[in-house]
């Protein structure tokens, strides 16, 4: 689905990612795990276009996007749920969702999609008139994911979805991620520090350290073991 | 004695100002010498005119140390310039000419007091930086509006008629001594006075900017919060700098009124407030040297354009400002200075590489 080749990027002249290559398979949950500062968020921001590439290419389904601006990449099929959720605080839930529709004006099965989304996150209908800024972290996460889904993305990017959210809600989020993959066949990339979440949802996990991928493990290698924790302790 | 001299030079050098090598100071000394010798060979009219052009540099420096060094964008310096001229005018008209220096001191002191009050309102009132620009602009407009309404014989202080929008006339020039032993500062003596004062102020600013106080000014510009967290009261830093800048502008205003024998509200109008911004932006806001050069040059150009039919001068300056903002955000003179430094540095490195001490061949 998404192919990144030989990516070097960062902030200004500081390089964070070094010659990184990554392939995200369709219909699976790919995880990027690493400590603080390893470059997880930078990776996602680079895919979205917030961080300019020093070198390398990115393509979705074969079409290269590294020259496109962020808005164009979103329209090419990237659904973005940033670290910290970034709900528009003064817009209502309904308006936040509407913003998600900017991505494409014709989504073939819009009504069906909306039904699915509302079924998955009933809160979106219950609190449609509530201002985004007044909601709790977990509620905002639902709105942020719903907002990204409304555009019928090809690839959903989740940056640290469990950050700042109480543990019971994190469990719900894990369920949602699995359901999105299984019922909607969505391709998902999750960047996380929370290893438990990764072990629950991920099919493939890449370990990131200092801007490089130091290990790639398949589900059978890390589920039920502490292989991931060991790689992170390095 | 020699070491005291070197200490003195060291105090004048630092990262806040351009040029610190012995070559620089030799050139500086030569320029100063030429400046002081010029009136001897120049003809009266040109000397007088050039002296007048140098007066504007005080206004430019005033804006520069606030904007470039402390991060305070103030439109108000023009008002202080003009008001100082008015105070000087009022006092000097009312007292015998041999005491005109007293009038000058009054002008400067009163304006410094005014800038203290205004600065207090601004900095201790927590007005944010963009609003400072607008607030000071409005103050300047207010001063101009109020003074324009003072036409009519009832608007007088002592024997000084304020004159409304036509301004105050009959302001005597600065003078020391009386009768036959008086030095009246016009033409060549005026030039020497301005040149001497300018050199003094310039060196004084170099000393200030490269001292601890200078570091605080730049720190306040760069990151006010962090400076505060280090325990410095940035309001005091800003206020003190504001008062100093007010004093320098006032000095310029007094000299202006003395040379012109006249001061009017138009010296504080929108156009008058625009020009110092252009001098500083075009020169290089963070360099007193760049501002000195650009102010003199641009005011000279302004004069030349005025002779040719002044309609194009405003357009010229506006285009200059636009080009500066879009193409030379550091300022034109500063960009040239930086290019020059880079060139000299490369030559120095190239010469070092050829030195046998470092294994090269001559």
């Amino acid at each position: 689905m998404l192919q990144m080749n030989d990516i070097t990027s960062g902030y200004g002249r500081t390089k964070v990612l070094h010659n990184l290559s990554l392939s995200i398979p369709t219909g699976k949950v790919t995880a990027i795990v690493g400590r603080n500062g390893s470059g997880k968020t930078t990776l996602i921001r680079t895919i979205m276009g917030y961080n300019k590439l020093h070198s390398g290419t990115i393509s979705i389904e074969g079409k290269s996007i590294e020259r496109q601006v962020t808005a164009a990449r979103a329209r090419a099929g990237l659904g973005y749920v940033p670290q910290g959720r970034h709900i528009f605080p003064d817009l209502t839930v309904a308006e936040n969702l509407e913003m998600g529709m900017n991505v494409s004006s014709d989504v073939p099965n819009r009504k069906l999609l909306m039904k699915e989304i509302h079924a998955m996150f009933p809160i979106l209908d219950e609190r449609r008139r509530q201002k985004g800024g007044t909601m709790s972290g977990g509620q905002q996460q639902m709105v942020a994911i719903g907002r990204a889904l409304v555009g019928n993305p090809k690839l959903l990017l989740l940056d640290e979805p469990s950050e700042g959210i109480q543990p019971s809600i994190v469990g719900e989020i894990e369920q949602h991620i699995v359901r999105l993959r299984d019922r909607m066949g969505l391709t998902i990339l999750v960047a996380e520090q929370d290893v438990t979440l990764i072990k629950t949802v991920a099919d493939i996990c890449h370990v990131l350290d200092m801007g490089r991928i130091i290990a790639t493990l398949k589900r059978e290698e890390f589920a039920g073991t502490d292989a991931l924790e060991q790689h992170l302790a390095l | 004695m020699r070491s005291k001299f070197f200490d003195f030079i060291t105090a004048l050098n630092g990262p806040q100002t351009v040029g610190s090598s012995p070559l620089y100071w030799r050139s500086f000394a030569i320029v100063c010498a030429l400046l002081l010798l010029y009136p001897i060979i120049g003809e009266d009219y040109a000397v007088s005119n050039n002296g007048f052009l140098m007066v504007w540099v005080f206004l430019g420096l005033s804006v520069c140390i606030l904007w470039g060094y402390t991060g305070i964008f103030s439109f108000g310096q023009t008002a202080f310039f003009g008001l100082a001229g008015y105070v000087y005018g009022v006092v000097s008209i009312n007292i015998p000419p041999e005491y005109s220096m007293l009038a000058a001191v009054c002008g400067i002191a009163l304006i410094m007091l005014l800038s203290a009050i205004v600065g207090y309102v601004i900095f201790y009132g927590g007005i944010s930086s963009l609003y400072i620009a607008i607030f000071t602009l409005m103050l300047t407009l207010l001063a101009e509006t109020l003074l324009s309404r003072t036409s009519g014989p009832q608007f007088r202080i002592g024997s000084a008629l304020l004159g409304g929008s036509n301004g105050m006339v009959g302001i005597p020039p600065l003078q020391i001594g009386s009768g036959d032993f008086a030095i009246v500062f016009v033409d060549k003596p005026f030039f020497w006075l301005v040149a001497a004062l300018l050199i003094l102020v310039f060196l004084g600013l170099r000393f200030l900017l490269n001292s601890n106080w200078g570091y605080l000014m730049v720190a306040t510009r760069e990151d006010p919060l962090r400076t505060q967290l280090f325990g410095y009261d940035i309001r005091r830093i800003q206020l003190m700098t504001y008062i100093i800048a007010g004093g320098i502008a006032a000095l310029g205003g007094v000299l202006f009124a003395s040379w012109n024998n006249f001061i009017a509200p138009s010296s504080m109008g929108m156009t008058a407030a625009t020009l110092p911004i252009i001098w500083v932006a075009a020169g290089g806001r963070a360099s007193i040297q760049a501002v000195t050069i650009s102010t003199f040059t641009l005011q000279w150009i302004n004069q030349q354009l005025a002779y040719g039919g002044g309609e194009y001068s405003l357009m010229f300056f506006a285009i200059l400002l636009l080009c500066t903002v879009m193409l030379f955000p550091q300022g034109i003179v500063t960009t040239i200075e930086m290019a020059l430094e880079e060139y000299l540095e490369r030559r120095r490195v190239a010469r070092l590489e050829k030195s046998p001490l470092l294994g090269g061949r001559l």
Binding site: M48, Y50, V69, T70, A71, A74, R75, Y80, P82, H86, F88, P89, D90, L91, E95, E98, M99, G100, N102, V103, S104, R147, A148, G151 | F73, V121, G125, G126, I127, S128, S129, L130, Y131, A133, I134, F135, M138, L139, L141, L142, T145, L146, R149, M270, T274, I277, A281, E311, Y312, L314, M315, F317, A318, I319, L321, L322, V325, M326, P329
Partner: protein, 287 residues
């Protein structure tokens, strides 16, 4: 008494029309557009030429002039302004320079005074003073502008995008909103409203290259006293300052009114820097 009411109404219209374009640009892009004065002037100049030279009806000339001003604004945004969004002070200086350039260009090309045009409606008397119907028309226009801006921001997709981008531009981009095009349209809208103002006031005042100046600094005062909201700001601030100016002008003269506005603005900067918008936010939060 009617005189006072009329004066306040007239001032309110003047302030709303002067400011809304400026306030929209400031509220959305957070920049101060000094070229606002030149857009107003262009609107007035184009109108008087369309009416006197091309013999157009004034009611046709006014919207055309507004469109031309919008086009000029769009051109400037594309070439210059958009590079300066992150450099607020430089943007202020650049727009100031542009203002002078446009004004001087008109001055050099067309001279100082421009043809005058007449007011389309007549006058009426109350007591022993004469008043213009045109001022009432202008009040209607001001009210219309406010309603239109409200509808635009609340009920259109463009308005939604703008409000979202005001809160978080990066996130709006991440959801596929082309904020660059949006800023272009917003700037053009602000310029167009300024041009409309100039066009509307052309029949009332002598038109010269410096036409925009008297609008500009008053618009700034309204902007500061009003705060960042493009609707609440001009509305509440125009009411307040309009009353002050109208009252002082009626009591003494227009210079007293101007001084009054300047003083109140300076007080607001010091005491209530967020303006009426800030006050409104506080009141809403308390509910």
């Amino acid at each position: 008494m009617f005189g006072l009411f009329y004066q306040i109404l007239a001032t309110f219209s003047f302030l709303v029309l002067s400011t809304t374009g400026l306030a929209i640009i400031f509220g959305v892009m957070n920049i101060i557009n000094f070229a606002h004065a030149s857009f107003i002037m262009l609107g007035a100049v184009v109108t008087v030429y369309l009416v006197s030279a091309a013999n157009l009806s004034v009611f046709l000339a006014i919207p055309l002039a507004a469109l031309i001003a919008a086009a000029v604004g769009a051109f400037l945004e594309m070439t210059l302004i958009r590079r300066l969004y992150n450099r607020k002070l430089d943007c202020l200086l650049a727009t100031w320079a542009i203002n002078i350039i446009i004004v001087q260009a008109v001055f050099l090309w067309l001279g100082t005074s421009q043809p005058g045009i007449d007011q389309p409606f007549g006058s009426f008397t109350v007591g022993d003073a004469a008043y213009n119907y045109y001022e009432l028309f202008l009040f209607g226009c001001a009210a219309l502008v406010l309603v239109a801006v409200f509808l635009l921001f609340r009920f259109t997709r463009f308005g939604l995008n703008v409000r979202a981008a005001m809160q978080n531009r990066d996130m709006a981009e991440g959801l596929g909103t082309n904020t660059t095009a949006m800023y272009l349209k917003t700037f053009a809208l602000g310029a167009g409203l300024a041009g409309l103002t100039g066009a509307l006031y052309a029949p009332l005042m002598p038109v010269s290259p410096y036409f925009g100046d008297r609008f500009l600094w008053r618009a700034f005062t309204v902007l500061i006293v009003g705060g960042a909201d493009p609707l609440i700001g001009p509305l509440m601030s125009s009411v307040a300052l309009g009353s002050v100016y109208g009252g002082l002008t009626w009591l003494w003269d227009s210079v007293a009114g101007s001084i009054g506005i300047l003083l109140i603005t300076m007080i607001f900067i010091r005491v209530l820097p967020q303006g009426f918008t800030g006050l409104w936010d506080i009141l809403r939060a308390k509910k």
